[in-house]
């Protein structure tokens, strides 16, 4: 039971992350590799907020959101002149910078030692210290993010974003301020990824910088490409598939050391096969 709860919590957190990435990659065709950075900023804001500053979980989430808005505001504005290759390279650069700040600003983050003893959230004095309670919280937040995604997806703003991903200049000719639209989606996606980071930090109770490297951003890319680009259900399905995979490998009895290698190979092959045979992913609404 605890095992399933654990899986469910991680699935929800990655569902939120995948939705946040689909807001930029799927909706607007922005190839962002910055997601791990915002995820990390959210996690560290919650960790430091709750341990050092003694803040409530939700206030810490707000702190992370503010930091992410400022960071994404600056980076997003620079990125907004591009869409694909340059976007990927520059956003990856940002992700690397954030990782090295987390690693090296030891006074703030304790560097490679990480931060221990991050408490569980409490609401109105009730501490959410059971896994069931925490799963409820995660699913609740996943539900809200899912709703936000679908709202944007069906709105005129979302339609403009989808025009941008195929032909930004055409969207401009139709009257849309495309750079602003790209920046707004980037900022929103950063905030959402930060919330996932806060949940993760509080759940795991210990974080260190290694979780928030560029490769985590690439893993999220894998999730949405396999689950489905530009689709809210696809993002969630992708998270479900990719998080269950290691469990499946374990279930069929592969020793851990082999399973870990196999997992990478399977992810990689799945990506290649998807791009070749099903470029929209399982539930996708857009192919790159």
């Amino acid at each position: 039971m605890e095992y399933l709860l654990n899986l469910g919590i991680l699935f929800s957190i990655y569902g939120v992350l995948a939705l946040s990435l689909n807001m930029v990659v799927g909706m607007a065709g922005l190839l962002s590799l910055a997601q791990a950075a915002f995820y990390g900023i959210g996690a560290y804001a919650t960790a430091i907020g709750m341990t050092e500053l003694g803040l409530n979980f939700f206030v810490s989430l707000g702190l992370g959101a503010v930091i992410n808005i400022v960071a994404a505001g600056i980076v997003g504005r620079i990125l907004s002149r591009w869409k694909s290759d340059y976007y990927a390279v520059v956003s990856m650069g940002f992700s690397i910078i954030v990782f090295s700040v987390l690693l090296n600003w030891k006074e703030l983050t304790r560097g490679p030692l990480g931060i221990f003893g991050i408490p569980k959230p409490s609401i109105f004095g009730y501490s959410i210290d059971t896994n069931l309670g925490f799963l409820m919280l995660c699913l609740f937040i996943l539900g809200i993010v899912f709703g936000i995604y679908r709202w944007i997806d069906r709105s005129s703003f979302g339609r403009a974003a989808k025009a941008i991903r195929e032909d930004e200049q055409l969207a401009q000719v139709m009257g849309y301020p495309t750079r602003r639209i790209k920046s707004i989606l980037f900022g929103l996606s950063a905030v959402v990824a930060g919330v996932a980071g806060g949940l993760f930090a509080s759940y795991i109770a210990f974080i260190d910088p290694t979780t928030f490297q560029v490769k985590e951003g690439i893993f999220l890319f894998t999730i949405i490409i396999i689950g489905g680009l530009a689709s809210s259900r696809g993002a969630v399905l992708g998270a479900l598939i990719l998080l269950s995979l290691p469990e499946v490998l374990r279930f069929i009895g592969l020793p851990f050391s082999i399973a870990a290698q196999m997992q990478q190979i399977i992810y990689g092959s799945a990506l290649v096969l998807m791009m070749v045979f099903k470029p929209k992913g399982f539930l996708g609404k857009y192919r790159m």
Partner: protein
Amino acid sequence: MSVSMSTLPRAIETKGLTKTFGGLRAADALSIYFPSGVATGLIGPNGSGKTTLMNLLTGTLEPTEGSITISGKTFEVIEPDMLRDLKIARTFQDGRLVNQLSVEDNLLLAIASVGTRAGLGEIGIAGYGARVDAMLKKIHLEAHRGANAEDLSYGQRKLLELGRAIIQDADIYLLDEPFTGLFPAVVEQVAELLGELKRAGKTLVIIEHNIGLIRRLADNVIVLDHGQKLAAGVPEDVLKNKRVQEAYLGV
């Protein structure tokens, strides 16, 4: 008649408009105007700079030099996202649609709110249903409203692109070869739609190689050659012009 053209208000006027690509002068000190409420045919041989001019007028290319005056306001640089406010709609020679969006969404894109808050407040077809229905009927795509634009035939794509411009209810229409490659029946449909715009008093700029269509639709003609203005005026006069015949009609 050509005298009366010059006395009409000018929807668009350029002064010394120039665009160079390396050593090539694709637009060469163009000082021309498009009279308001008139259909102007923009003609000239392949590579004479017709599309380049249209791109400069819509901000999809930045001029090397010169200025553009639209409805009385003068610009050195035009950004494409100003076009909606300037009430300018355009089509492209290579037919640009959002391929992975539906026919309906391609039309909605042209009229939905551009502001963030307003745009987020409009869900789905919002209040635009009647306009979209009417346009789908006009361009004979009612049966395809949910189809992706990429699944349309060439002629349907041309009609959708024109419909996307018309639904904007702009004042000025810049149309880059709206007839090229169409079957005669579709040519008639497009001619019909342009006729309607003319009757509504819109300003039209039509790039077209077919002189018959120009004679039929345009009341004013501008001839470009090597990025320069070769002639301008009423079609009968301009098409009789010796230099035009040499450069363009190959006579």
